[in-house]
């Protein structure tokens, strides 16, 4: 028994098929609880008014956007080192979720920034690095779709993901170099004195859990679809051949 047995597509499909219904239900429960609690049962912030509630979408989506890239990086390394196809396909599926999450974080951020900062967009380090992350996602997805041979595509995108990670981190610190920017610092840290108020914190935790589960569900569904897609193509090729 080890984790690697799920590198076998059949075993992966079996397990993910069994887990998916439970995960989906949990996702819905978490998201509904978090959103309802957040949007209807919490007070308005004394300074930000009701715009503070954007936090329930903005923070979780931003969190997923970054961590999806990390997951892709790990999956890329696993693919390059151990050549498990499921890993490469999971990275592909995660990239699609990740790019949407990045876009959601950028757009909700703009909606939040307009009333609070008086501007939709500022060349603030955090905003800028998220925009760069979005461009990296676009390039990654474009490269996947541009190459026909699946193994070559998996190899090339994996290398791009690794090189891109280095440059993404570099860009993050390069834009930091400009100025401190408008975006507030971290307020969800576990070890800091001054954090977000508990009133907003607990529903936010539900929303974060819901988004993480949503990411897992979507990635699993995407990976399963990719595996089946490849099987279908193999069948077609065999019929013709």
């Amino acid at each position: 028994m080890s984790l690697w047995q799920y590198a076998n597509p059949v075993k992966f499909l079996n397990l993910s098929g069994k887990v998916l219904p439970t995960l989906s239900v949990l996702t819905v429960i978490c998201l509904v609880t978090g959103m309802y609690w957040g949007y209807f049962l919490t007070p308005d912030d004394y300074k930000q008014g009701s715009t503070v509630k954007i936090i329930y979408i903005h923070v979780p989506s931003a969190l997923i956007a970054i961590n999806a890239w990390f997951m892709m990086l790990v999956a890329a390394l696993i693919w390059l080192i151990r050549r498990h196809h499921v890993s490469a396909l999971a990275a592909k599926a995660a990239s699609h979720v990740g790019v949407v999450m990045t876009l959601i974080a950028l757009i909700t951020g703009a909606f939040w920034g307009q009333p609070m900062w008086g501007t939709w967009w500022a060349w603030d380090p955090r905003l800028t690095s998220f925009l760069i992350l979005f461009l990296f996602y676009l390039g990654y997805i474009a490269l996947w779709s541009a190459i026909e041979d699946p193994d070559t595509a998996a190899d090339l995108t994996s290398v791009l993901c690794i090189v891109g990670s280095v440059f993404a981190v570099l860009s993050r610190y390069a834009v930091n170099f400009w100025n401190q920017g408008l975006h507030q610092g971290a307020t969800l840290s576990l070890d800091k004195e001054e954090n977000i108020s508990d009133v907003f914190y607990f529903p936010l935790l539900f929303c974060i859990a819901g988004f993480v589960l949503l990411f897992l569900v979507l990635t699993l569904v995407g990976t399963r679809a990719e595996i089946r897609n490849r099987r279908a193509r193999a069948l077609v090729a065999r019929e013709k051949g």
Partner: protein, 218 residues
């Protein structure tokens, strides 16, 4: 290695389009900006370092797809891959050749174009220094992009999409260095960062490019 370098340079010179095209493109970009933002010299001289950097970056981008594509089509890339010279070395030579045919002319031309933009006199040195330090990184990163897209027909647009985000750190520190130099501010940090990026990229990225080329030649 030197033979390969000379061959590449000769090809770029005689086949045309190497030196001249990027330079002309650089000139046009720089000339177009005043048409776009208006002819006020005060404004232009303020944004001149940025314009020169973005122009150099775009001019560099223009010639990236020919680094490997021509050799890939006529099969000489396969020969190079099976030659005793390690592929990492080939990649490095290609980057150097690209820099000599594209980056170096841009570095030399930049001060003259700076005149058009009303660049302050003390800025000429810094534009040259920042471009001379930064453009090698652009060439090396570009070779990586070229290696990624070598097997793709009409991969030019995809190449730009892949390479431009990778250019961000170089551009930020390069333009920052030029800007600070023009304003007479302290330039130590950006100069060290830019040099660091160029050295790190030159040392590490050829391995990634060679790996990618091997995948594409499989």
């Amino acid at each position: 290695m030197i033979a390969l370098l000379i061959r590449d340079l000769r090809l770029a010179l005689r086949a045309g389009g190497g030196f001249g095209l990027s330079l002309a493109f650089f000139l046009i970009v720089v000339v177009l900006v005043p048409f776009g933002v208006g002819p006020e010299m005060a404004l232009l001289s303020k944004i001149a370092p940025g314009i020169l950097w973005v122009g150099a970056l775009l001019a560099c981008l223009l010639s990236l797809d020919r680094i490997f594509a021509l050799d890939f089509e006529d099969g000489s890339l396969d020969l190079l891959a099976t030659a005793p010279l390690p592929l990492e070395g080939v990649v490095m030579i290609k980057a150097v050749a690209h820099w000599i045919t594209t980056g170096l002319p841009l570095v030399i031309a930049a001060p003259f174009l700076g005149v058009l933009l009303g660049l302050p006199t003390q800025g000429y040195v810094w534009i040259v220094v920042s471009l001379a330090l930064g453009t090698p990184a652009l060439s090396v990163i570009g070779t990586f992009g070229g290696a990624l897209t070598v097997g793709i027909k009409r991969g030019g647009l995809l190449l730009s999409l892949l390479v431009l985000p990778l250019y961000v750190p170089t551009l930020i520190f390069g333009a920052e260095l030029a800007r600070r130099g023009v304003l007479g501010m302290d330039t130590t940090t950006p100069i060290l960062m830019l040099g660091g990026i160029t050295c790190a990229v030159g040392a590490l990225l050829p391995f990634a490019s060679a790996a990618v080329l091997k995948i594409n030649l499989r």
